[in-house]
């Protein structure tokens, strides 16, 4: 056993002598202990080689230019130029997102959905309107949360500083971060209580806004357009299946009701999921959230409790303000200009 370790090329002649001497004198258990220490020494011999990883990336596109980008999350400030950011990106991110942040890391070909291309700065999970840059906090949260149904794992073992540094680091890949500010987060009114009425109104909106065209009438991701969807890179993409998953079933951009609200009000940029911010009133949006929760049939939620109390039957929605809202529906084109 000991002889095997001795053959390790990493050992110096001094340690070899030491081992030979000690093998003679020590008992078997201490031999094991000692070989463990030698093993550690051998590993440490490789450390200089590992630190060579920190040299600048020089590929066909030349070295990565690290710009002095920063991020602000609460009282934490992240720096793209920090050593931590550089080594974390290379160690944990570059495998998929690529050294140049263009989403072509060596694992990318095997991954679906494809890793984010930071050079176009289009992000799914935002609190900001469609077409705008996300806030630092949005990116910070995405890193910690990971993206469900994708290969992006939750990096929740990272310290806040590490994540803030990475948020700053990915900004070096797109010039948009130098020219534009993040969008203004949409305002979300406080959530009204869940009622049968709100679920029923949400269901009416789900039908009217034709969410079912992609997501299917029962939210199973099997609507008539579902099979034809592609993302902005022309890769096939599936609409979210609300009914899949158990009690922990999550949405791509978080698991709270506020997160669902944000998803359809800001859209998932780079995917077929559009923004509904211009077409849904804030309180109506909460009704839609309540209905969407009932599509998660295997998940325990206050919405499903309300529905269960009503024996699982959603009453048809009766629009109490119908006389007022029905009129503009007919001459909406004329009313459109004045709105």
């Amino acid at each position: 056993m000991a002889r095997r370790r001795i053959r390790s090329p990493a050992l110096t002649s001094i340690s070899r002598v030491l081992i030979m001497n000690s093998v003679k004198t020590m008992r078997f258990t201490s031999v094991i202990l000692f070989t463990a220490i030698v093993g550690l020494l051998a590993v440490s011999a490789f450390i200089p080689r590992a630190s060579a990883q920190d040299e600048p990336v020089v590929g066909p596109k030349g070295p990565v230019v690290i710009k002095p980008m920063v991020s602000h999350i609460g009282n934490v400030t992240g720096h793209a130029e920090s050593e931590q950011a550089k080594s974390d990106y290379r160690r944990y991110c570059a495998g998929c997102h690529g050294n140049y942040g263009d989403g072509t890391g060596e694992n990318a070909v095997w991954i679906d959905p494809k890793p984010r291309d930071f050079t176009i700065a289009t992000f799914k999970c935002r609190s900001t309107p469609t077409g705008t840059l996300p806030t630092d906090e949005d990116l910070f949260n995405t890193i910690a949360r990971g993206l469900d149904n994708s290969n992006m794992p939750p990096w929740n073992t990272f310290s806040k500083q590490q994540r803030a540094d990475l948020v700053a680091y990915i900004k070096i890949f797109s010039p948009r971060w130098e020219k534009e500010k993040a969008g203004t987060p949409i305002s979300i009114p406080p959530e009204p209580p869940v009622t049968l009425q709100s679920i029923s109104h949400g269901q009416a909106l789900f039908a009217k806004l034709e969410c079912w065209k992609c997501h299917g009438t029962h939210g199973e991701g099997n609507g008539p357009s579902a099979s034809t969807l592609t993302d902005s890179q022309d890769n096939p993409i599936r609409p979210y299946n609300f009914a899949a998953g158990g009690d922990d079933s999550r949405f791509k951009c978080g698991k709270t009701n506020q997160d669902i609200y944000k998803i359809f009000m800001t859209g998932l940029d780079g995917t077929p999921m559009p923004s509904f911010a211009d077409v849904i009133q804030p309180n109506d949006a909460w009704d839609l959230v309540h209905f969407l929760r009932t599509l998660q049939v295997h998940r325990h939620s206050k919405e499903n409790d309300v529905l269960l109390a009503a024996h699982g039957v959603i009453p048809p929605y009766v629009d109490k303000s119908a006389p007022q809202s029905a009129a503009p529906a007919n001459n909406n084109k004329a009313a459109g200009g004045g709105q």
Binding site: E210, P272, G337, Q339
Partner: protein, 233 residues
């Protein structure tokens, strides 16, 4: 009041027309070879659109006419135009009607406002796919107000509706006001060109671009024709 307004407009038009005397470039866009046959679009998944068309509409990637003419080709001055920077104040319109984009190709100036309307009884999501400009994606259910937008960089931007996968169109964002779309048998006209040397570019969404140089000295009309090689498939 109204008649006076119309008169005023007429007078200003006359005055500006007399000021804008210049050369004209006109011509035809044609193809050689055999273009792929455009397939009829199956809109049966969207009955409210399907019933608007007595016969199925054809895919509009290549709009070929009699005598090998090509419509829907954008012809524009790609260099030499003197008034690159002037952004027209009028809004151009992109309509969604019968689950088609009307027009199929919408040329416009950089930073010019355009509006997207939905005249259908179904929801559309308007999803332009720019690479240089900024990408967004908005839902537009029936009866909602037009979406107003502009692009600040020149680019040929494909537009699609994810809900109705057959819907394809283009925003052609140019840094010139001297452009035309070939129509009625592939004809185009670029009027009011001051004397100068110009490069003309013709762009067809499937066949790519072609260029031609032309020199205008006075108020003459020059003829420039473009011939694209049709792709077999």
């Amino acid at each position: 009041m109204r008649t006076r307004k119309i008169l005023l407009v007429l007078v200003t038009l006359l005055v500006s027309a007399s000021m804008m005397f210049g050369g004209t470039v006109t011509g035809k866009v044609t193809y050689t070879g055999t273009p792929v046959k455009m397939k009829p679009i199956d809109m049966s998944k969207e009955p409210s659109c399907a019933k608007q068309h007595a016969t199925p509409v054809l895919n509009e990637t290549v709009v070929a006419g009699a005598n090998n003419s090509l419509d829907n080709v954008v012809v524009y001055i790609s260099s030499g135009a003197p008034d690159d920077g002037q952004v027209p104040s009028q809004t151009v319109t992109y309509d969604q009607k019968g689950c088609q984009y009307i027009p199929h190709v919408l040329p416009m100036h950089v930073n010019q406002e355009f509006e997207i309307r939905n005249d259908d009884q179904t929801s559309h999501n308007i999803h332009p796919l720019p690479k240089v400009n900024i990408e967004w994606n908005k839902s537009q259910p029936p009866g909602t107000p037009p979406i107003k937008e502009k692009y600040d960089k020149p680019e040929f931007i494909p537009v699609k509706c994810n809900i109705h996968p057959w819907m394809h169109g283009w925003f052609v964002v140019l840094k010139t006001n001297h452009y035309d779309i070939s129509k009625n048998g592939g004809s185009f006209t670029l009027p009011n060109l001051p004397a100068g040397k110009y490069t003309l570019t013709a762009w067809q969404e499937d066949y790519g671009t072609q260029t031609a140089d032309v020199t205008i000295t006075g108020t003459e009309t020059k003829e420039v024709n473009f011939t694209f090689k049709a792709k077999a498939y």
